[in-house]
């Protein structure tokens, strides 16, 4: 009892820091955020307007270290500014799914009964029956293209996972004795759901958030690639790939750098998610 008491999260942090792979993942993600924030300081080219018609589809050189695209725009600049869109693509859909899905899952799991079993669960089942890319495409068709609509579409695709995970955890937790104990000292239902149950669901959700971010980046790239996401002039990594497709055989570097960037960041999120899962799982003790 003399040592300092540590919360679940402090202990998990120590476990996380000892996992080299997880730390590497976190470093990659911090790198992405760093690049997104400091984009103007990393390159002096503008990603949209600096078009060098004397160097169209140029191979990497000292002037354009990652080469240029079909309009003579610097690929490095587009990648660096694209990090902003990628960060947004990771955060926005997941934030939407979290703030909409978790309350629904909490309500559904805690309340139970008709609304839970016959309305929410059925709706989630129906939503889950669509392949996520199809769903996003359909929504983009209804809402129109554009980056934000793509984000919303991807976010709606994540809803079932967030609702289900929250609901399942709440059902498992609400019969725990400490929840009964909380009720027995006079806590209201809202208080129990938010103060007593939600923090216990958070570790699982945190893992889900990280892994969903990886999927979100891929989905955004996919949507931009087929042309319903970011508009062509926006430097999204997906639209970079789309441009590059035509020159895949003759100028492969145009596709290589955005492809590598996407892979690296998704790998980073996955490694971090995996590390979080290990760090937060109460069954893995040392």
């Amino acid at each position: 009892m003399n040592r300092k008491s540590q919360s679940v999260y402090a202990l998990a942090f120590h476990r996380f820091m000892r996992n080299k792979q997880a730390v590497l993942g976190a470093v990659i993600i911090l790198g992405l955020v760093f690049v997104a924030v400091f984009a103007p300081f990393l390159t002096h080219y503008d990603p949209i307007f600096d078009q060098d018609y004397n160097a169209v589809l140029a191979s990497p050189s000292s002037a354009h270290i990652f080469g240029t695209d079909d309009l003579g725009r610097d690929t490095f600049a587009r990648l660096v500014y694209g990090a902003r869109l990628t960060t947004a693509a990771a955060v926005l859909p997941v934030a939407f799914a979290f703030f909409v899905g978790v309350p629904i899952g909490l309500y559904s799991g805690y309340k139970g009964g008709f609304i839970d079993q016959w309305i929410i669960t059925r709706l989630v089942d129906a939503l889950q029956a669509f392949p996520s890319l199809m769903l996003a495409l359909a929504l983009a068709a209804v809402l129109g293209g554009g980056f934000l609509n793509a984000m919303l579409a991807i976010g709606i695709g994540f809803l079932p996972a967030f609702i289900r995970i929250t609901r399942g955890q709440v059902i498992a937790l609400k019969n725990q004795e400490y929840i009964l104990a909380a009720r027995s000292i006079g806590c209201s239902n809202l208080r129990i759901a938010l103060v007593h149950i939600l923090p216990n669901v958070m570790p699982t959700l945190l893992v889900q958030i990280t892994l969903a971010m990886a999927t979100a980046i891929i989905s955004e790239a996919g949507l931009s690639y087929i042309g319903v996401g970011a508009s062509p002039e926006q430097p999204s990594w997906g639209s970079l790939l789309r441009t590059a497709q035509s020159y895949l055989v003759t100028q492969p570097w145009v596709a290589a750098f955005p492809g590598l960037a996407i892979s690296l960041v998704v790998l980073g999120f996955n490694m971090m998610g995996d590390g979080l899962r290990r760090a937060l799982d109460p069954k893995i003790k040392q």
């Binding site: 008491s5 679940v8 004795e177 400490y178 104990a181 000292i185 209201s188 923090p199 216990n200």
Partner: protein
């Protein structure tokens, strides 16, 4: 005699299983006086815990309900209160401690946080004041170095310590009634004795009434004044503790007493009551204990025996004892 703090009158609790109604507790009446401990004894599935949850109005409303009877706390019928009104009673007037100290504390919060929650909720004091009260409570339940304990997390404590913390939480708002549902079952015997001592002294100090739910007659003998023996959702015998131990009238009580290991006579096989508690919902025309009773007669199978009052503190639900006296 002082007035009863809690009067349970003809309480019936039903479980709703799909579309069938299964009686879990039937016609239960108990009066509880301040400063007294009453024991509720019986095997698993007798309706003891259901009764305690019914008093707290914590039954899962999706599949259980109080179908009849009243639970009066100082003349106020708890069965008629709204959920909001009940939230003001829980923790303040009636508190509860549970069987599993290992799982009845929230793992993500410090002891201090959990202890102050009820105090802030019910007494309208600031977090700072609540902490002072909480430290005071931890001292009352004999926890050494309460300031350090306040910052600890549940997983850092032993079972006995956690149960002390649970008692501190339950008593932090000076409730008039404490319901203890198998409070010592998960603890080893030496810790069990300490916890029972603690409950005894706190009951006297705070003049509260304690409802002790247990299957362990040894525990009952330590701290209860009156005992209610339950079987299949009914009270089958009530008595002052000494009378019950010396002269059990109902065959079920006798069976329970005989099932206890004897300290002096070793070597023999332990007695056990043949059969098991009938599942709630089984149609039984006569006495519910008939199938397991060695004295069962034709009469017992025809009609259910009534709970007959023998004297002020003694009743029994058996044709045999009720008839002969």
């Amino acid at each position: 005699m002082a007035e009863a703090v809690l009067k349970i009158k003809n309480l019936c609790v039903d479980f709703l299983d799909d579309h069938t109604i299964v009686p879990a507790v039937s016609d239960l009446s108990i009066d509880i006086f301040p400063g007294e401990t009453v024991g509720l004894v019986g095997e698993s599935g007798c309706g003891k815990s259901t009764t305690s949850l019914a008093i707290m109005r914590l039954l899962d409303t999706n599949n259980a309900r109080i179908s009849k009877g009243s639970i009066e706390l100082h003349g106020q019928d708890l069965t008629k209160l709204s959920e909001k009104e009940m939230q003001r009673i829980r923790g303040k007037e009636i508190s509860m401690i549970f069987q599993e100290p290992m799982t009845s504390l929230n793992p993500v919060y410090t002891i201090g946080r959990q202890l102050t929650e009820g105090i802030v909720l019910h007494q309208g004091v600031s977090q700072k004041e609540a902490e002072t009260i909480a430290i005071d409570m931890l001292q009352k339940v004999d926890i050494p170095r309460p300031e350090i304990m306040m910052k600890s997390y549940p997983f850092e404590l032993s079972g006995g310590m956690r149960q002390r913390v649970m008692i501190a939480i339950a008593l932090s708002c000076n409730p008039k009634i404490l319901i203890a549902d198998e409070p010592t079952t998960a603890l080893d015997v030496t810790v069990q004795a300490q916890i029972l001592d603690l409950m005894n002294s706190l009951r006297d100090e705070l003049q509260m009434a304690v409802i002790l739910i247990t299957h362990d007659l040894g525990v009952v003998a330590e701290i209860c004044k009156y005992v209610y023996v339950m079987y299949a959702g009914q009270i089958v015998e009530t008595a002052a503790i000494d009378d019950l131990l010396n002269d059990p009238l109902h065959p079920y009580t006798q069976g329970l007493l005989n099932s206890m290991p004897d300290r002096w006579q070793g070597g023999d096989r332990l007695y056990n009551i043949p059969g098991t508690v009938p599942l709630p919902g089984t149609e039984i025309k006569g006495c519910k204990f008939a199938d397991r009773c060695e004295y069962c007669t034709e009469k017992c199978r025809q009609a259910p025996p009534p709970l007959v009052r023998l004297d002020e503190h003694r009743s029994v639900r058996c044709f045999r004892s009720a008839g002969t006296q």
